[in-house]
Amino acid sequence: MDSIIKRIEKEIADFAPATGAEETGIVRATGDGIAEIDGLDKAVMTEMVLFDPTFDRSLEDALKDADPVYGLILNLEEDGVRAAILGDASRVYEGMLVRRLGRLLSIPVGDSLVGRVVNPLGDAVDGKGPTKATKFVPIEREAYGVMDRAPVNVPLHTGIKAIDSMIPIGRGQRELIIGDRGVGKTTVAIDAILNQKSEPEESRPICIYVAIGQKESKTAKIVAQLAELGAMEYTVVVTAPASAPAALQFLAPFAGAAIGEHFMDSGRDALVIYDDLSKQAVAYRQMSLLLRRPPGREAYPGDIFYLHSRLLERAAKLSKEKGGGSLTALPIIETQEGDISAYIPTNVISITDGQMFLLSDLFNKGMRPAIDTGNSVSRVGSAAQTKAMKKVSGKIKLELAQFRELEAFMQFSSDLDEDTKKRIDGGRRMTEVLKQTNGQPLPFEMQSAIIFAAVNGYFDAFTPDETSAMEKKMQEYFLREAKNVLSGIREKKEITEDLEKELRSALQKFVEINKGA
C-alpha cells in the first residue's frame, strides 16, 4: 500500500500537463483489424497512432477501460490514412479519436530480454512481469551497407552432422529451412539453438526464436524444452500466435530482427529463427487485401518479395570497425506437397544464401533429419567451415548422390556386381551415420571424429543395419577413451597429422573391440 501511495505521489509531483497541440484524426470506419482514419494529414508511413478510448467518456468509465490500443499507419491516402490495429480491434469504434504518437513503430531491446517471451511490440507474455529493457529501436531499419560488412568466415555449428558437414552455416549467413509440414523444420532450428550451449560463453550467439502464426501450445512446448535444457539462458522468444491479429504476425519477424540487431551492434553474435515466413506472407497478404492494395500473383501484394528481402538483408557479419558482431538468419518456409517452385518458396530461396530442403519421403523412411542433400546447398558457409570438418566431409555429398542414383537402380535390378554392392552398402552406412535423434546436437569435434570414421571405412567392419548402434557406441567410446583427441580437435579446429594418428589408433581399437560383438 505504501509503495503505491508513494508512486502516485511521485507521479503527481512530477506531472507536467501536456500543453502543446497534438494532431488527431477520427476513425471513419473499422473492420477486420484495419481502421480508416480521417485527418492525420502529417502522418508518416509506419508511424504509430493511439486509439484513445478515454476521450469521449467520463473519467470513471475511462479508467475502467484505459488500456491504449495502438495502430500502425500503412496507407497514406488523399483524405485520410489506413492503419492496422495492433491489439483488440473490437475496442476501436467509428468516431473514436486517434492521436499521432510522432514515432515510428519501435520496440524495447536490451540484455534483459534474454530468457523472456515477448510479443512483437516487446511486451512480456510469459507472466514474469514487464521486461526491464528501456532502449527503444524502430523495428523497420535499413540493412547495413557493403562497406559495413565483413565476409562470412566464422562457423555457426548446428550440432547436426548432416548440416555441419554438407550444408555448413556461417555467422551472418541466411540459410533457408524448407519442407512440407511435419518433416522436422522446427526441430532442426531448435537443435541449432540447443547446440549453442556447447559454445564457449564469450562466443555463444544469443538466439531469437520468432514464432509466427503458430499454435500457442506448440510455442509453449518449445519454450518448455528450451528452458528444460538450459537454452533459455541465451534465448529470446518472440511470439505472434495464430490467434494474434494479422498485423502482429506480419511484424513479428521484424521485431526479432530488431532484437538481434541490438546484440549484433554491440559486437556479439546472434541467431534469429523465423518460424515461419509462409505464415507471415499470408498475414501480409490478408492485411494488404484489407488495405485495398492491388493483388498480384496468388493474391499476394506486389511488394511481397521486398517484404522478405528487406527482412533477410538485415542478417549480416559486421566489419571490425563496426564491432564485428553478426546476425545469422534461419528463415523457415513451409511447402505444399514438396513444391519448392511455388511463389513464396522461390522468392525466399533466391534471397537467402542457401537452403536445406527437408523431404517427407525421407522422413517417412526414418531418415532424421530428413535433409535432401541433392537439393540442399550452402552458398557461403563452406568458407566458414572448420578445417577439421572440411577435411572429413569433402566427398560425402558426392558419395550420397551416387548412392541415391544406385538406390533407385537397385529397385529394378536383382543382379548387382560387387563394386555396385559395395557402393550401395557404403551409402547405406553413411546414411545411418548421418541419422540423428532430435534434441541431441553433437559438438563439432565429435561430428568430425565420427564422419572421419565413416569416410575412412571404419564402419565397414559392421553391416549397414548395425551402423546406427555402432555410431552411438563410438560416441560413448570417444568420450571415455579418446577425450584428448576430441579436445585436440576442438582446440586446433583441425585434424593435424598427430591427431589423425591418435584418432586412427583409437578407431582401430574400437573396431577390434566391437567386431563380431
Binding site: I8, F15, E22, G39, L59, A66, D79, P130
Partner: protein, 122 residues
C-alpha cells in the same frame, strides 16, 4: 477526378472567388471537356468535405461555465477560434479545444488518465 474538382472549388471559395462566376466557369469547363457526368460525383465530394469541415471544425469545451472566456482566449493562442465554449463536466477541470485535426487538451480528466496509465504501466 471528382475529388480534385471538389477540392479546387473549396480552395477557390476560401480564396474569395464569387460563387456565380465559379459556377459558370465550372459548367463551361465541364461541357468543353465532356465531363458533365462528373457533376453528381463532384456534388457528393463537396458534401463529404462539408461534413468533414463540420466534424473537424473548431470546438472548445470547458469543465465549468465560468472558465469559458479564459478557455476561448487560451484556445485562440493555439489557433483554435471558436465562437463559444461548450460545457462538458466530464473534463473535471480545465479545457480542451479541437480544430481541423489539432487537439489541445488541458483538462483535469486527461491529466488524471495520464497519471493513471503511467502508474499502472510501471
Amino acid at each position: 477526378m471528382e475529388k480534385v474538382y471538389a477540392s479546387a472549388l473549396e480552395r477557390l471559395l476560401s480564396q474569395g472567388v464569387k460563387e456565380d462566376a465559379l459556377m459558370k466557369n465550372l459548367m463551361t469547363h465541364l461541357k468543353a471537356r465532356g465531363r458533365v457526368k462528373l457533376l453528381p460525383a463532384i456534388l457528393r465530394s463537396l458534401k463529404v468535405a462539408q461534413i468533414r469541415n463540420t466534424v473537424t471544425g473548431a470546438t472548445v469545451e470547458v469543465a465549468r461555465k465560468e472558465d469559458a472566456a479564459k478557455a476561448l482566449s487560451a484556445a485562440a493562442t493555439h489557433g483554435i477560434t471558436a465562437d463559444k465554449a461548450i460545457v462538458n463536466e466530464s473534463l473535471l477541470s480545465g479545457w480542451r479545444g479541437r480544430s481541423k485535426g489539432v487537439l489541445v487538451d488541458q483538462s483535469g480528466k486527461r491529466a488524471l488518465t495520464d497519471i493513471y496509465q503511467r502508474v499502472v504501466k510501471v
